[in-house]
C-alpha cells in the first residue's frame, strides 16, 4: 500500500511538472469548447429545418414547397431545408430536435383552394426556442401572406394555425461539450501509454525491477491516477460548458462518472496496447497521431457525421469514440440512463477487453 501511494504520488508530481501534459489535459479541450462554441453560437438562426406532411393535397404541397424553397437569406443561401414524410416520422424528428417545425397540409386543401374557400394549414414547433417564436413564425406568416396574395384576392385563403410541441433545445454547444469530453478521454487514455514507453526506453522500469516493487503496482498506480485525472477533466469541461454557454447536464451524475471511467479505461488500454508493440517514443508519437486525429473527426466529436462515403461507414461504426461520444451525449443531453445504452456499453467493454487481452499476451517490461 505504501508502494502504491509512492507510485501514485510520483505520477502525480511528474504530471503537474509536465506542461505539455497539463496543456493537453486541461487547456486543449477548454479551448475547443470556447472556440467552437463562440464560432457557432448563432447556428440555428441561419437556417430552419422544416418537415412537410402532405395529407393528400399534392397541388398545394407543390406550391408551398416551391414557395418555401425559394425563400433565401441575404447571402443567397436558402432559409429552409425541407423534408417530407408521414406525420409520425416528422413528429419524431421534431421532438428530437432534428426539425425546427412541421407544416401539415390537410387533405381538403386542394379542393378548398379550387373553391376559393379558406383553409388552415397547421404548423408545429417548439415555442421555448426563442428563434422559433421570433423568427420562424413571423417568416412563415409572411410566406403564407405572400402565397395568399399570389392566389389572388384580399381574403386570405390560407391561415396559419400554430401548434406547439415541447422539444428539448439542442444547440450546437450541447452537441459539442460531450464530444469534447469524449475526445479528451481518448487523448489522455492513448497518450497514457507514452510514459510506460518512455520509462521502459530510459531503463527506469528496469531500475525499479531491482527493488521489491511489484510491477503491477506501476499499472495500478497509473490507472488510479488516470481515473482521478479524467474525472477532474470531465468536471472542468462540464463546468466551463455550464458557466460560459449554459450547457445543462441532464442525466445522472453517477452514470456520467461511470461512462467517463469506462471510456477512459477503453482508451487507456489502447495506450497500453500501443506500449506492448512500440518500443520507442519516437515511433509511438506518429502512430498516436495517425490513430487519434481521424478518430476525433470520424467519431463525430465536432460535427455529426451524416454523409460519409460508404466505405468509411464501417470504420465509423467500429471506432470506440463513436460509441463513447454517443453515450456521453445521451447521458448529458437526453438524460438516458446508462443501463438502456446496451450497444454503447457493450462495444466499449469489448474494446477494453480485447485490447487488454492482447496487451497481457504481448507486453514486455524490458
Amino acid at each position: 500500500m505504501r508502494a502504491f501511494g509512492a507510485v501514485f504520488i510520483s505520477y502525480y508530481r511528474q504530471f503537474v511538472r509536465d506542461r505539455g501534459a497539463l496543456f493537453f489535459t486541461f487547456i486543449f479541450p477548454i479551448m475547443f469548447i470556447l472556440l467552437f462554441g463562440w464560432a457557432f453560437r448563432n447556428e440555428g438562426v441561419q437556417r430552419f429545418d422544416i418537415g412537410l406532411v402532405d395529407q393528400g393535397s399534392p397541388q398545394s404541397t407543390t406550391i408551398i414547397t416551391f414557395t418555401l424553397d425559394n425563400v433565401t437569406l441575404d447571402s443567397g443561401d436558402k432559409l429552409f431545408r425541407l423534408e417530407s414524410g408521414p406525420f409520425d416520422d416528422m413528429m419524431r424528428l421534431l421532438e428530437d430536435g432534428s426539425l425546427d417545425a412541421i407544416i401539415v397540409i390537410p387533405a381538403s386543401m386542394d379542393n378548398s383552394l379550387a373553391q376559393e374557400q379558406p383553409t388552415a394549414i397547421q404548423i408545429y414547433y417548439d415555442p421555448t426556442r426563442i428563434s422559433n417564436q421570433q423568427i420562424l413564425v413571423p417568416i412563415l406568416n409572411q410566406v403564407v401572406n405572400g402565397l395568399n396574395q399570389y392566389l389572388q384576392g384580399t381574403t386570405p385563403l390560407i391561415t396559419l394555425d400554430e401548434e406547439t410541441v415541447q422539444s428539448r433545445e439542442l444547440r450546437y454547444i450541447d452537441y459539442l461539450v460531450p464530444g469534447v469530453l469524449g475526445m479528451s478521454l481518448m487523448f489522455s487514455g492513448i497518450y497514457g501509454g507514452l510514459p510506460i514507453i518512455q520509462q521502459r526506453q530510459a531503463h527506469i522500469i528496469k531500475r525499479l525491477g531491482a527493488t521489491p516493487l511489484r510491477r503491477s503496482m506501476l499499472i495500478f498506480g497509473d490507472l488510479a491516477f488516470r481515473m482521478i485525472l479524467v474525472l477532474l477533466t470531465a468536471a472542468l469541461i462540464i463546468l466551463v460548458g455550464s458557466l460560459v454557454f449554459d450547457v445543462q447536464m441532464v442525466g445522472s451524475w453517477l452514470g456520467l462518472c461511470g461512462m467517463v471511467i469506462l471510456g477512459s479505461l477503453v482508451f487507456t488500454s489502447l495506450g497500453y496496447l500501443l506500449a506492448a508493440f512500440v518500443k520507442t517514443e519516437e515511433a509511438a508519437i506518429p502512430i498516436i497521431n495517425v490513430v487519434t486525429m481521424p478518430m476525433m473527426f470520424l467519431s463525430g466529436t465536432f460535427f455529426e457525421i451524416t454523409s460519409m462515403p460508404s466505405f468509411i461507414e464501417p470504420v465509423i461504426k467500429i471506432l470506440p469514440l463513436t460509441y463513447l461520444n454517443d453515450a456521453l451525449r445521451q447521458i448529458m443531453v437526453d438524460g438516458t440512463p446508462v443501463h438502456s445504452m446496451t450497444t454503447d456499453v457493450a462495444v466499449l467493454a469489448a474494446w477494453a477487453v480485447v485490447c487488454l487481452g492482447i496487451t497481457i499476451r504481448f507486453f514486455r517490461w524490458d
Binding site: A3, R207, G209, A210, T211
Partner: protein, 309 residues
C-alpha cells in the same frame, strides 16, 4: 536462512542463451561475506547478464543462484529486499527532485536509511531539491549509486559505479565502498577501471565469451599469469610478432592497436635486442617504457583485448 560457511552468494552452473549465443556458459562462483568481488571482462563477455541473474532481474536457463541462503529464482522479492543494486546507467524519473526520488525508493522497502543519509552519501545536499533531469551526469550517477544503499543492504551490486565521474568523485565513491565493506557487508563490482579493481577488490573474476577464465585476488592473478615485466613502445614498419618473439629473452608479444608490449624476465637483454633489431631495420622505437605487469596486462593476455568501452 543460514548462510553456510560465510558464503553470501553461491552460483553454480549458470547458463543463459540468447538464440544461438551463450551469454552465460556454465558459470560457478561463490562470494564470501565482507568480500569485495570484482567482475572484469570485455563488453559482451556476460558480466552484466550473470550479475542480473544473481540479482533476480533475469532468469537463468539452467543452473542455480543463491543469495543470502535464498534461491533467487524462487523468492526474488525476499532477495531484493536485502540487496542493493546500481544498474549501469542512472535511470530515474526525470521530473522528481533528488529528495523525492530518495523518498520514493525508501517507500519501496520495509526498512530504509534516512533520506538525509542517502542525499549525503550522494554528496547532493546542495542539490536536494533539483529535478533529476537538471542534475549533471556525475550527480545523476552519484544519486543512482547512493540509492543502492537506501535499504541498508547486506550485499550491494555496483555496475560501473564510477563511470563518468571525475577523479575526485571517483575517490569519494571508493571511500563509500570501503566504508560499506568495513561494516562487514559484501560488494559485487563490475568495472572497466583496472586501477579501481586492483585497489578495491579482494578477488576478481575475469570473464570472456560467457565463461570465467580466471578467478583470484588481483595480486595473485598478476603473479600467476605474468611473471615478467612489460616493455611497451610504438614502432613504424612493424616487422611482425615472430621477429620480435625470436629476440633473446622475449617471452611473449602482444599488440594493442599501435602499442606493442613485450614481456621479459631480463629487461636489459630484451631492450638491447629490440634496439638492435630497430637500428638494423633503420626504424625507431618511440614512447618506450618499462613497467611491472598490471591487471591490465593480465586481462590483455587472457582475453587478447584491452578493457575499454
Amino acid at each position: 536462512m543460514s548462510v553456510s560457511s560465510g558464503k553470501v552468494i553461491k552460483v553454480s552452473n549458470l547458463v543463459k542463451s540468447y538464440g544461438s549465443i551463450k551469454a552465460v556458459d556454465q558459470i560457478s562462483f561463490e562470494v564470501a561475506q565482507g568480500e569485495v568481488f570484482g567482475m572484469l571482462g570485455p563488453n559482451g563477455a556476460g558480466k552484466t547478464t550473470t550479475v542480473e541473474i544473481v540479482e533476480g532481474l533475469r532468469t537463468a536457463d539452467s543452473g542455480s543462484a543463491t543469495v543470502l541462503g535464498i534461491d533467487v529464482a524462487k523468492d526474488t522479492r525476499a532477495v531484493k529486499e536485502r540487496i542493493g543494486i546500481q544498474p549501469q546507467s542512472p535511470a530515474l524519473f526525470p521530473s522528481l527532485t533528488v529528495r523525492e526520488t530518495v523518498r520514493f525508493f525508501r517507500s519501496l522497502y520495509r526498512k530504509s536509511l534516512p533520506t538525509s543519509r542517502i542525499v549525503e552519501l550522494a554528496s547532493l545536499e546542495a542539490s536536494r531539491d533539483v529535478l533529476f533531469k537538471n542534475l549533471s551526469g556525475g550527480q545523476q550517477q552519484r544519486l543512482s549509486v547512493a540509492l543502492a544503499f537506501v535499504n541498508d543492504p547486506e550485499i550491494i551490486f555496483l555496475d560501473e559505479p564510477t563511470t563518468g565521474l571525475d577523479p575526485q568523485a571517483r575517490r569519494a565513491m571508493w571511500d563509500v565502498i570501503e566504508t560499506f565493506r568495513r561494516a562487514g557487508k559484501t560488494v559485487v563490482l563490475t568495472t572497466h577501471y583496472m586501477e579501481e579493481a586492483q585497489r578495491l577488490c579482494d578477488r576478481i573474476a575475469i570473464m570472456d565469451y560467457g565463461k570465467i577464465i580466471a578467478l583470484d585476488s588481483p595480486q595473485r592473478l598478476i603473479e600467476f599469469n605474468i611473471k615478467e615485466s612489460a616493455i611497451q613502445f610504438k614502432m613504424k614498419d612493424y616487422p611482425g610478432d615472430q621477429v620480435l618473439a625470436g629476440l633473446p629473452d622475449v617471452s611473449k608479444v602482444v599488440r594493442e592497436e599501435d602499442d606493442i608490449i613485450v614481456y621479459t624476465n631480463n629487461i636489459p637483454s630484451a631492450i638491447s635486442g629490440l634496439l638492435g633489431m630497430a637500428s638494423q631495420r633503420s626504424t625507431d622505437l618511440s614512447e618506450l617504457s618499462v613497467r611491472q605487469a598490471t591487471l591490465e596486462d593480465v586481462f590483455l593476455k587472457l582475453t587478447g583485448k584491452r578493457i575499454r568501452d
